[in-house]
Amino acid sequence: MEEAQTHDPRACRARHLVRRSLLVAGQVAIGAFVSSAAESAWASDPVSPTNIFAPDSTPAHSIYRLSIFELEILGAIFVVVFSLLLYAVIRFRERKHEEASEPPQIYGSNQMELAWTVLPVLIVVVLFLSTAQVIHRVQDAREPEGTIEVTAVAHQFWWEYRYPQFGVVAANELHVPVSDPARPTPTYLHLLSADVDHSFWVPRLAGKTDLIPNHPNDMWIDPHETGLFLGQCAQYCGTQHAKMLLRVYVESREDFDRWVHTQQQQAAASPSAAGSALFVAKACFVCHTIRGTTSVGQAGPDLTHLMSRDTLGSGAVPNTPENLLKWVRNPDTFKPGTRMPASDVTDQELSQIVDYLMTLR
């Protein structure tokens, strides 16, 4: 048999040494990646507010524990198999003197086949049973007394939140009370969609669950700490899927009750008559509700307490007067492809409308 190239033994050995050290370096580098990620995970917030390894709610905790357990098993499998591969690749490379002959031909071994079938099957059994347990614990959990019920309706590209227990309709910012593990007050979300598929994903609070038209779903969270938890839509839903952000405000019970009370109020009678008239004249009322007025549109977010929100466009930009102006003039400025059309207004009309909106606290 003709070899197309001849071997230079020293170059060959050098190449293999390089290869070996590169592989080891690679392994070390990968190890460094993984451990630094895990380490930063331990220090939750500093790395990322959406870190799945920084759970703060029972569903997220259950997932976290299962995933660490599994990572340990899979990590061990990787180390074993990779070491065998590395060893084989180094130990069994062809030496110069071996080129002319063939090694002993071994066709198989039934015992080995059995061994490396049975062992993986056992691992599968262990993993499956632990997984099934967590599935059941999260999906089949029963609602305790004192549960807050929220119906979340996903739209292209914003979130509607209804609190049937309180008669509150909000948008884009979900407020829930903190839950004491001793006496839990979780929030149960009933998930619906007004148009296409979406997915509710706030990693630190729970795994994601989809919102699918004609297919209601349920999920629950019981955050153990107050704070702002971030997430975003996790099922491609169209042009502005990327900016359909989630903000969950976990508050003390008092703060939550206060928020509910505010949201329950109708819009105060407005000193800005020009603005509220324009709100109707320019057809804003077709899509938006402002409770206490004649605007009862359902296609867009409820604006009764617009100024109680930190952001506009479901997290697209902070809720400042300047941004509000730009948004109302043309939402495509911040979120191109969003459903809200640009307004056909003069500058004066625009500032009057915005002045009116800014009274909606």
Binding site: M1, A4, Q5, R19, L22, I30, S48, P49, T50, N51, L66, S67, E70, L74, I77, V81, L84, L85, A88, V89, F92, E94, E102, P103, P104, I106, Y107, G108, S109, M112, E113, W116, P120, V124, F128, T131, V134, I135, H136, V138, V196, D197, S199, W201, A206, G207, K208, D210, I212, P213, N214, H215, G231, Q232, A234, T239, A242, K243, G315, G337
Partner: protein, 536 residues
Amino acid sequence: MYEWLGTGDHKKIGLMYIVYALLFLVVMGVEAVLMRIQLTHANATFLSPELFNRLFTLHGTTGVFFVAMPILFGFGNYLVPLMIGARDMAYPRLNAFGFWMTAFGGLLLYASFFAGDSVAQAGIAPDVGWFAYAPLTATAFSPGHSTDYWNLSLLLAGVGSISGGANFVATILSMRCPGMTLGRMPLLAWMNLVMGGLVLVTISPLTAAQLMLMGDRYLGAHFFDTQAGGSVVMWMHFFWIFGHPEVYVLIIPCFAFISEIIPVFSRKAIFGYPAMVAATTSIGFVSLGVWAHHMFTVGMPSYGNAFFVLTTMVVAVPTGIKIFNWLATIWGGRIRFRTPMLFALGFLFQFLIGGLTGIMLATAPFDWQLGNSYFVVAHFHYVIVGGILFSIFAAFYYWFPKMTGRMLNETLGKWHFWILLIGFHLTFDSLHIPGLLGMPRRVYTYEAGRGWESWNMIASIGVIFQGVAVLIFVYNMIQSYVKGTPAGNDPWDAWTLEWATTSPPPEYNFATVPTVHSRRPLWDIKHPDDPDSKYE
């Protein structure tokens, strides 16, 4: 030229499939580069959301249907008749038909680029994602024809694939040379047999679902119309009943390449041939029962989720068995680190990791976090690029001499391998992390301050390396085709029938149809004192 247009010769058709796929591989690469540029920084404005959404849709659709399937059909078509001692595939004209259907499908898909206002904004190319979930594909949410381009081009390509699959099955069952019982045919033949059979039951559900979608969009049907009480989850079920076995359709021929290359470059017979056959066949069957692991977040009841966790983990067992058998083949061998073997070893390493991240995703609760995030993107690119593409490169370096009569340059090959390895790992190791930190997929941009930016930047840098590697490969192919070292019949000292004829083979493949007595006919000839037939 007309010879190529009208040919039914499996070798020419194989080469056409391969060249077609390579062209689309470059297109895919360009799409990927554009997307990675956009994603390097938070809140970037390099690409508009509309354009980005079209790009990822095209990238995925092209990758599966117009790169991976054709290239694997190409190699299969070229090699299967040679390796089973036949003169051609069972149905040469059907073969040509299948190729041209696939080819037209790809052209139709990309015609959408030009069928709109602006070529730079990608015309009306589809933007619904490669799995085109309902009701995003309904006329209400997808007005105009972009979705129809997706639907029709894949219907065409699907017919081409089914034809190809049937051809593989018929060829392998009905055209083997005397003495080549099913237990003696090369693993490549076995794996293409399983792949062909799988194609028949995998592509057809997609065809059915696409006919339903066409009904909805054109005839006013209500298959996925929630207003009429229809179910969009049903689309998901039908799509993934296709979509999951499809990835096995893609990987099984790659297993075939590895199963041919590792033995030759370890100088040992494949370890556990019967186990490899059994494992591959069971993967084929079990893969039909795992599809809803793509739907863990959809709200199936807990026992439904648990069932699919079980089947998905079960399919990992025969997959692992194969990895162990390859490892055992290398063990005790005499490894020659030529370029095909380097790529094969890269495959082993990366497929192992991809398989392990797959098990993470199979664990439904873990998937509730990881699903639809960049972790999934990293996982499937690990298997598709790190697994499938690496094994395809291995196959190129191994069989290019047979197809062209010339060796690919070994030095360039090694540069290609190492640079690709570095680039691949820079990009796809990094992309796991944003997934773990909450970054969903299919986003044209993302917020700063979530810890995603640096990993995205590293991933984008890796793309540069991968691009360079592919350029080196293309240069190698062209240069070697023109003035590579002549290969002769059997440059690798291998053992299967394709190496018994000239490089390239004559149109009729073999002067006389061979008769075989073992799994490695050429080993028997080279080692008359110790033939395989004694041990099988």
